[in-house]
Amino acid sequence: MRPSPELRTLLRRLRRSRLAMVGMVLVGFVIAFSLLLPLLLPFDPNQMNVRNALQPPSSVHLLGTDHFGRDLLARLAYGGIISLQVGFAVTILSVLIGVGLGALSGFAGGATDTVIMRFMDALMAFPGLLLAIALVAVFGGTMGAIVLALTIVGIPRFARVVRATVLQRKEADYVVAATALGKRPWKILLQDILPNCSGPIIVQATLKFPGAILGEAGLSFLGLGLPPPAPSWGRMLQESRAFMEVAPAAAILSGLAIFITVLGFNLLGDGIRDILDPRAKHARG
């Protein structure tokens, strides 16, 4: 199938939104930085050299070194890979599971709906980061556990958004028409309802992505993320705090990396939401 007409309209409108373009540039920069630099730099991000610790920027170490003498630029780039991995994995899993549960809930209705949604309400009753901390404490500090914890935190919002949209689309004329032509209910859900819910799902996903990155940084800042020496931005920020007065570069740069990444994805997500959400102001420029 060709890209849907909705998607093409979305891309065209996106190019006209200045903030969304800024977001797009930042996101592009972060992705290029994280994926290309590790190929170009001759350093292992975990290679320690204590005699070389806390060096200022030089021609060898472009951004200097941290308190173990590891190349800061390499650690930032590898940290970007971790962040992007978490972002993608959590977003994709939250979308899949959340959309599945929300669609089932909205389409089936009745007791199924009640059970699923009350469970989602219960999950949402916990503060997100606290729930994630508890889950990581249970599952341990591996990549899988972090992704799982952030996904569980992320699912309820998707489920609710998708359920609400499915309830709306269920009344659409083309759904009634498809029913009147004898189409099977599950096919109506997959072909007529869900594709027409893509707008809110995309918006939610673009906001989930920076949320997941921030969540991972938060967990590792608190010491619950990937164990050392993994170059996670949150952990780098936390470790470098002790040396901020002597060598501020590490703390500033890892904080900046988190900031730029989250800002970029948020701007992009806001841009997409402005276009897809008819209630937002200046929705159609």
Binding site: S4, D173, A177, A178, L181, G182, K183, Q191, D192, P195
Partner: protein
């Protein structure tokens, strides 16, 4: 062509026994393809059940066009949905080709829809899925009910688009709904509805959303296809002028009831129910000399569903209301016509 239709339906008809309900005089002789007896439909709301249809009976013969006319809220669209068992039927029966819809499982109903009875809707702009091509939607509908492979179904889709007067049908198959005008989309909906050769086509205000010129085209297209395929057509409309030319018989609905039924010419020549008379008087006629003076209007508004006064629901607006009208008048049959009014209760 009509024989073709019968042959295609032979399997489905195998178990069909003659309808036990007595056929109305209009369809005597030929067994009606669709019979409705005392249909009652009621929607569940937060304020309890709201009756939308409180007694509709009608027969439809193959190849016949039966028009249901009524104001907004008279229950006519609910009748349309009930014919496909898409509205909550709480009483009476709908028999399609001798089979009572109430006795069918959900699976059987699904197989019936699209194959035996199909429906087209008021809003062609929103009745097609915007993210799928016309070809996909059309071919899928055909393969849902007919054992054809993709190529054969595609051929059938092109043939149907040609029949509904769409030019360059092979190219259209790759287009999305937003690339077509409203009239074109309604033609596609008609092609889709008729692609499996249903016995009955329910058309719920099929031309309301269209320009006047396109309206006429769609109506004459429906009429041509009805004649070609022998499909029985139930045409729902609020515009009595729309049905004057195409309908064989007209049923007038008010507050969930069928209050008058007559062959089209008879209804226009001598409406019996005061409501029908008022309805006809409110339509400007080009075939009569101008009466001079404003068009007659019906005073008041129809009762909200479930809020009708006891007795005849039209009583508060009726200029000829009598004491007896506070009890419900029976449906009285007179030859080919029937009417629910104490004025004609003999």
């Amino acid at each position: 062509m009509a024989q073709n239709t019968t042959a295609q339906h032979s399997t489905a008809q195998g178990a069909a026994a003659p309808s036990p309900a007595e056929p109305s005089p209009a369809t005597a002789g030929a067994e009606p393809v669709l019979t409705v007896r005392d249909l009652q439909v009621s929607y569940q709301t937060d304020d309890g059940p709201v009756p939308a249809v409180t007694g509709v009976s009608l027969d439809l013969a193959a190849g016949e066009t039966y028009a249901i006319v009524g104001e907004s809220g008279s229950g006519k669209s609910t009748v349309a949905l009930a014919l496909l068992a898409l509205a909550p039927i709480v009483g009476g029966e709908v028999r399609l080709a001798g089979r009572d819809l109430a006795g069918l499982s959900r699976h059987e109903l699904r197989r019936l829809r699209g194959r035996e009875i199909a429906m087209i809707f008021q809003e062609p702009m929103t009745s097609l899925n915007p993210v799928l091509t016309l070809g996909y939607q059309l071919i899928e509908t055909i393969r849902l009910h007919q054992p054809l492979d993709r190529a054969a179904a595609r051929g059938r889709a092109i043939e149907m688009l040609e029949k509904v007067g769409i030019s360059d049908p092979a190219r259209r198959l790759a287009q999305y709904p937003h690339e077509l005008s409203g009239g074109m989309r309604q033609r596609v909906m008609i092609a889709m509805a008729l692609s499996c050769n249903p016995r009955v086509l329910v058309a719920d205000e099929p031309t309301t959303a269209l320009d006047v010129t396109v309206q006429a085209q769609i109506l004459s297209l429906l009429d041509d296809l009805r004649a070609e395929f022998g499909t029985g057509v139930v045409l729902i409309t609020h515009d009595i002028g729309v049905v004057a030319e195409t309908a064989d018989r007209i049923g007038v609905m008010y507050a969930g009831q069928l209050i008058e039924e007559a062959p089209t010419a008879d209804l226009f020549a001598s409406p019996m129910h005061p409501y029908t008379r008022g309805l006809l008087a409110s339509v400007p006629r080009v075939d009569l000399p101008p009466a001079g003076g404003p068009l007659a209007a019906l005073h008041g508004t129809p009762p909200k569903p479930g809020k009708a006064p006891p007795g005849c629901p039209f009583r508060p607006r009726c200029g000829e209301a009598m004491d007896v009208c506070s009890t419900m008048p029976p449906l009285t049959r007179q030859g080919l016509r029937s009417v629910r009014c104490w004025l004609h209760d003999r």
